[in-house]
Amino acid sequence: MTVEQDDKYRKYVTSMLEKFSDVFAAVMVGDYTVRAETEKDDEFTPFAMYLNTLISSIQRTTDELSVKNKTLEEKIYTIEKQTEAIKQLSTPVIQIWDKVLVLPIIGVVDTRRSEQMMVDVLEKVVELEAECVIVDITGVETVDTGTADHFMKMVRAVRLLGAECFITGVSPLIAQTITHIGVELTGIKTLRNLSEGLRGAFEFMHYKVVKKSE
């Protein structure tokens, strides 16, 4: 090899390396559309082909991942929305009469839900200046010591604000359970059903319901 040939070859290698490094730089910043040159048939060709295969495989994987990510994000969004909806649905505080609130409870009452219920009901009592709160547990299937304790706490907290609290809709089964597990419901007014509860609230507020004379 003459000096000139050697110099030419050196320049060629440098230029090829520069081209490769351009490709690498592009891939590093996330551009997977670039490809190394493979038209020439020399020592660099296999290397360029390997590099191209690698880039396309990275591109494929990245695309798949971004699609999966998108579906996951959508699912998370849905879950968040549903959680919020469940939270709102699970503790509706209804104003059934002037200064009388009803809190119908359906399903399982756990610690988290009971805390949320308590906060909601207390805030509503203050907001609407309620005098009576009726906690209707018709929709509660089972009662254990924990659930009974939550109800007791709710009644006490409502009383501390200066309102009266009734528990209604105690089914025969729940009555038996409460007696069986020996929970003391001292000082807590329990009534058969919601209409009895409303009657109790009227009585407490000294209201009288009379039929309009014809």
């Binding site: 906060v119 207390l122 203050v126 706490k153 200066g162």
Partner: protein, 113 residues
């Protein structure tokens, strides 16, 4: 700091606007009992609307003041308990025995009428 006692007709209004230290609570109890026995008020209203945090001592003192007042012939109504305060009280297992509670001053005055 002293908590002012305001006499309105035959009622005594004690408005506690900020969290107070134990010694002040103790002296408040003395002031209230003295005032009830000398002026002969028939009702005592304790306003807790300015209180965010409560401890067991303060709660017991409120109960004791209510008890003292009853012995001296005055009914006690505690008003303005905030929801968060009510939750703290029940979570700590503390109760307001011997005192009535009411949402606001208006209702307390109605109760004592």
């Amino acid at each position: 700091m002293k908590v002012p006692l305001i006499k309105i007709g035959d009622k005594l209004l004690v408005s506690i606007q900020t969290t107070i230290i134990d010694s002040v609570v103790a002296s408040l109890r003395e002031d209230i009992t003295n005032e009830i026995s000398t002026s002969g008020v028939k009702g005592l209203i304790i306003d807790l609307s300015g209180i965010d945090i409560i401890d067991s001592f303060f709660c017991r003192m409120i109960n004791d003041i209510g008890h003292d007042a009853r012995i001296l012939g005055a009914k006690t109504v505690v008003v303005g308990i905030k929801p968060e305060l009510a939750i703290t009280l029940v979570q700590m297992g503390m109760e307001m025995r011997g005192v009535m509670t009411s949402l606001n001053l208006n209702k307390a005055l109605e109760i004592l009428k």
